[in-house]
């Protein structure tokens, strides 16, 4: 079951709609640029396959319950991440519209959690790196399970951050995460196993369909490593930031008695401050709702805060996008007159 509209605020839902909408447009352009006109009917039938396969359960050994394929990782392996994202978007759209499985306002968020993480993080950074070229059955299975588990953990974390950030639930971040993450560990194992079973079967029957040479999504392991390191620093190490005042705040405190000098009441200062307050989505590197609560009391160290991780990851992502855009703009060749 995907996220419902009832637990989402328009701010969170709208932001994720914009993010996934932009990703969708980018993926559409990339798929078109591949200039392979087989891709549209292929995407359609594979989407229909995922839709049908989600209704076929298989028994999970040792538990007496059954599970089913999600499909994100499988699509990424078979079609490449960009086409896979488009297919996932349509499967989720059909589910939201005709089965009430996930709300329409939450469609952006659901697509982000179930599409972006498997296709653009788990597939290139985990599956491709672990499986390598022409892996053995065992290695493929291991890569699939690892990628599925990590992708679903990220997706579950996304759900927790989005729900808590919307402010409609009284659940605290830590409690909700403690409930969601272990469950999705099991679901990830199931997903990885099902994906591996299907890819291994397909590879034996039609090896040409699986070992297509897709353009390598990550140019070098170094870039992937740096991306993972950045995510870890922003998401986890930020909890260990020192609560003591930094150099500037310490000097001001010694000189004037307070850590921040109050700006003058009127004039340009006040107007700019008001604009900054309105624009800042994540004031003080935290979610707005949680930030105000923290100002009241003492905070523990390390400050395990979902809001801080979210702010760190969002900030890192925005910086990456700005730098990439600048690089693209500056790198474009002008036609010679």
């Amino acid at each position: 079951m995907h996220m419902a509209d009832a637990l989402l605020s328009p701010a969170v839902g709208g932001t994720l709609w914009v993010a996934t909408g932009a990703t969708l447009a980018w993926c559409a352009r990339r798929v078109k640029a591949r200039a392979d006109d087989r891709i549209v009917p292929l995407m359609g039938v594979l989407g229909a396959f995922v839709f049908a396969a989600q209704m076929i359960n298989f028994a999970i050994p040792g538990t007496g319950s059954s599970g089913h394929l999600g499909g994100g990782l499988l699509l990424a392996i078979l079609l490449g991440p960009h086409a896979a994202f488009l297919v996932l978007a349509s499967v989720l759209t059909v589910q939201a519209l005709f089965f009430a499985d996930g709300g329409l306002l939450a469609l952006g968020a659901n697509l982000f959690n179930l599409g972006v993480f498997p296709c653009f993080v788990a597939y290139p950074l985990v599956y491709r790196l672990v499986a390598g070229d022409k892996p053995s059955d065992g290695r493929l299975a291991f890569a699939a399970v690892l990628a599925a588990v990590l992708g679903l953990q990220m997706g579950a974390l996304g759900v927790v951050v989005e729900t808590v950030g919307s402010g409609l639930t009284s659940l605290a971040f830590a409690t909700f995460a403690a409930l969601m993450l272990p469950i999705h560990l099991g679901i990830g194992l199931v997903e990885g196993a099902a994906t591996a079973a299907l890819v291994i079967f397909l590879r034996r029957a039609r090896p040409d369909l699986v070992d297509r040479s897709l353009p390598a999504p990550v140019k070098s392991r170094a870039v992937a490593g740096l991306a993972i390191a950045a995510a870890l620093v922003a998401g986890v190490l930020s909890w260990f930031a020192s609560p003591h005042p930094d150099g500037l705040e310490w000097s001001i405190a010694r000189a004037t008695g307070t850590e921040e000098i109050k700006p003058p009441e009127g004039g340009l200062h006040a107007r700019l401050a008001a604009i900054q307050e309105k624009l800042s989505v994540l004031p003080d590197y935290d979610l707005p709702a949680e930030g105000t609560a923290k100002k009241e009391g003492e905070t523990a160290w390390p400050e395990v805060s979902g809001g801080r991780s979210f702010a760190g990851l969002v900030g890192g992502l925005v910086t990456l996008l700005v730098v990439a855009a600048a690089g693209w703009l500056l790198g474009r060749r002008r036609p010679v007159a």
């Binding site: 419902a4 087989r38 359609g44 076929i56 359960n57 298989f58 059954s66 409609l168 099902a194 397909l202």
Partner: protein
């Protein structure tokens, strides 16, 4: 009836419902998309303790269901399936938020129960609206609306292919399951059986995709998806959009049930 057959039957029902000529299906699908989006944003924008203020919003899904002649039983069944998940997350509210908020006769209702009821109300409103608008519009009109609103054609094109082939592949999957059951298969298959079972379905999906592509090329397909469906925006679509958006704005910023209650009881 297995899950697969039930899902296919529901999709077929939605398709049939949308093909009828009702006041809802005659509206331009772009108008319906815009109004539903406004509805969802308005409902989601209430604070967590809003309850009676949400009531006027029930008019929109109600009108869609009645004017679109959507079967009430189908709608209620889908709501009953979808609601428990949100309720499971929402049940934390009454447990964690015990500050008293209302007094009804001798009973003190905590804020947690109010926010829980608010979430359930939102679930009902949003899901009913989404289902009713989908049943009154259908996938083809919806894909045309999305393309007209700027969604890339490569997405809407493969969405329509998915819609078409979901029935075909779903039927094949259902026959494969029946074949397994007839040969003594019980319950859910083990992974060693599931691999080839779903794997063969996947193979058929690929082969079908290749046949479709060859058929399209034989008919002159060049990579561009073109449709004949023409969307014509009419006066009634403008009236529909402006009317409902005005109503949502009014119901959002003026607590209508409160005003009505005050008018009737004379309380301040």
């Amino acid at each position: 009836m297995g899950r697969l057959e039930a899902a296919l039957r529901d999709l077929r029902l939605a398709d049939t419902l949308a093909a009828r000529d009702t006041p809802v299906s005659r509206l331009d699908p772009r108008a319906k998309v815009l109004v539903t989006a406004a509805f969802l944003v308005a409902v989601a924008s209430f604070n967590r303790y809003a309850l009676s203020a949400l009531a006027p919003f029930a008019l929109y899904p109600l009108w869609l269901a009645v004017a679109g002649r959507v079967p009430a039983g189908w709608l209620a069944r889908k709501l009953a399936i979808a609601a428990p998940f949100a309720a499971m997350v929402a049940i934390a509210n009454p447990i964690l938020d015990t500050a008293p908020m209302l007094r009804l006769a001798d009973v003190t209702v905590s804020a947690g129960w109010v926010s829980f009821a608010s979430i359930l109300a939102r679930v009902g409103l949003t899901i009913a609206a989404a289902l009713a608008v989908a049943a009154g519009t259908g996938m083809h009109a919806l894909a045309a609306a999305l393309a007209a609103l700027g969604v890339p054609r490569i997405f809407t094109g493969q969405l329509l292919f998915l819609w078409r082939y979901a029935f075909v592949l779903g039927g094949e999957a259902s026959r494969m399951q029946a074949a397994r059951t007839l040969r003594g298969g019980r319950g859910s298959p083990a992974l060693a059986v599931y691999g080839p079972l779903a794997g063969h379905l996947l193979l058929r999906a690929f082969e079908r995709g290749e046949r479709i592509h060859r058929a399209m090329r034989a008919r002159g397909y060049d990579g561009e998806i073109r449709t004949l469906r023409e969307l014509r925006w009419q006066v009634r679509d403008t009236v529909f959009v402006l009317g409902w958006c005005a109503y949502f704005a009014l119901a959002r910023f003026v607590d209508l049930p409160l005003a009505l209650g005050r008018a009737i009881t004379g309380a301040p």
